[in-house]
Amino acid sequence: MKRTTRFLALGAAILAMAALGQSCMTISAYEGAKPVPKSAYGDPSNSTLIYGSTVLDTGATLAFAKYVPLTVVFMQINPGQKPAILSPGLVGMGKAFYLAPLPVGSSIKAFYQTYSIGRTTYLDSLGIQGRYNIDVKAAKPGLLYLGSLVYTDKDGTAEQDFYPIGTVKELDALKAMLPEFAGTAWEAPIKDRIKELSK
């Protein structure tokens, strides 16, 4: 049973975030309240770089106001790994996202998401129950593509989930991410994957 709590939040911080989501700026990945510096990124040999894109299917609300997805926030739920609240970095005008590379063995669980419609920013609390298509385990070191996911009620049931039915291509997500990872150990694997997909 997936229930969501939606509430309206106001304030300068939100307006600033909404503005960032809509502009061409990049938002770096966060752990808790702190942005993760590139120097703290795990290595491709022992950690996993998770990336993809998400939108929320807002149905009829799109008819009267502009809908802007902001972010999905994850919790690390494997008790054997370091606890962390993970906010994705947004790239490509907010179309794609990545998480700061995680140690292999980490498990992520989406537990809230934010989006704005018109001038209102919404927060959907997803809870810690159930496993969404986006809740994955970093089982292997290297790149892990989640897909272009849409949070929706796909078949008219009450169950909402993230389905890989979005329109952002992996290649575009990688190209948008590349500048963020320039000069890090991830640059090479990202470039390799871009080459592979460009063939």
Binding site: M1, K2, R3, T4, T5, R6, F7, L8, A9, G11, A13, I14, A33, M75, I77, N78, P79, P83, I85, S107, K109, F111, Y112, L123, S125, G127, I128, Q129, G130, R131, D135, D153, A158, Q160
Partner: protein
């Protein structure tokens, strides 16, 4: 249909909680009210040590006030809320119950047809509104004429995995202990009646 509750409902719940904790004495149910009595267990134990790392999480947009009566560094107990419907109604009511441990006594108004649909319980680790999982009930009760205290039992939920999925629900009877506690809270004249839980139509959209 996913349930969307506005912040105002949450705040109202908190206000009710604040009012309740300021007033330790409970008022007896009126003739139009019934106290539903039950207990909830969750097995196996949640790795609370691990989740304690998230106990004080709040969204960047919600101020992190400590719950009443807690000192810095202390963590709140797990809590429950309760979702019920007047039979046939499309809108449910969510009641915040406070600590999840121990006997629950929920006072609700008796609908005209005396039938109450109990949809689910929501379990909050460390009383944190983000750290919740749902415990389905999907049963209805019919409040007998003249009854103001009804006993439905102890629900034991078995969690299947780290995603808090539920693999089993069992119902057991701890009536004697419950009757004693109800008498302690509401007075010796409070008579607790066992009622049957009747399966709700699973296709009913709740």
């Amino acid at each position: 249909m996913s349930m969307k509750k506005p912040l105002s409902a949450l705040l109202a719940g908190l206000l009710v909680l604040a009012a309740a904790s300021a007033e330790p004495k409970v008022s007896k149910p009126r003739s139009s009210e019934v106290v539903i009595v039950f207990r909830v267990e969750v097995k196996p134990d949640v790795d609370r040590d691990f989740y304690s790392n998230y106990a004080s999480f709040t969204s960047p947009w919600v101020s992190a006030a400590l719950p009443r009566g807690l000192r810095k560094g202390e963590l709140p107990a797990d809590s429950l809320s309760f979702v019920w419907f007047e039979d046939g109604a499309s809108m449910g009511t969510r009641a915040y119950l406070g600590p999840a441990a121990g006997l629950q006594m929920v006072k609700v108004g008796i609908p005209k047809n005396r039938t109450i649909d109990i949809a689910s319980l929501r379990y909050f680790l460390y009383d944190n509104s983000y750290l919740y999982f749902d415990l389905p009930v999907l049963r209805k009760i019919v409040v007998p004429e003249g009854a103001n205290y009804v006993y439905i039992g102890t629900f034991t939920y078995t969690l299947a995995d780290e995603y808090f999925r539920i693999s089993d629900i069992t119902l057991s009877d701890e009536y004697d202990g419950a009757q004693a506690q109800v008498a302690k809270v509401y007075g010796e004249s409070a008579r607790l009646l066992r009622v049957n839980l009747i399966k709700l139509d699973p296709d009913q959209d709740k």
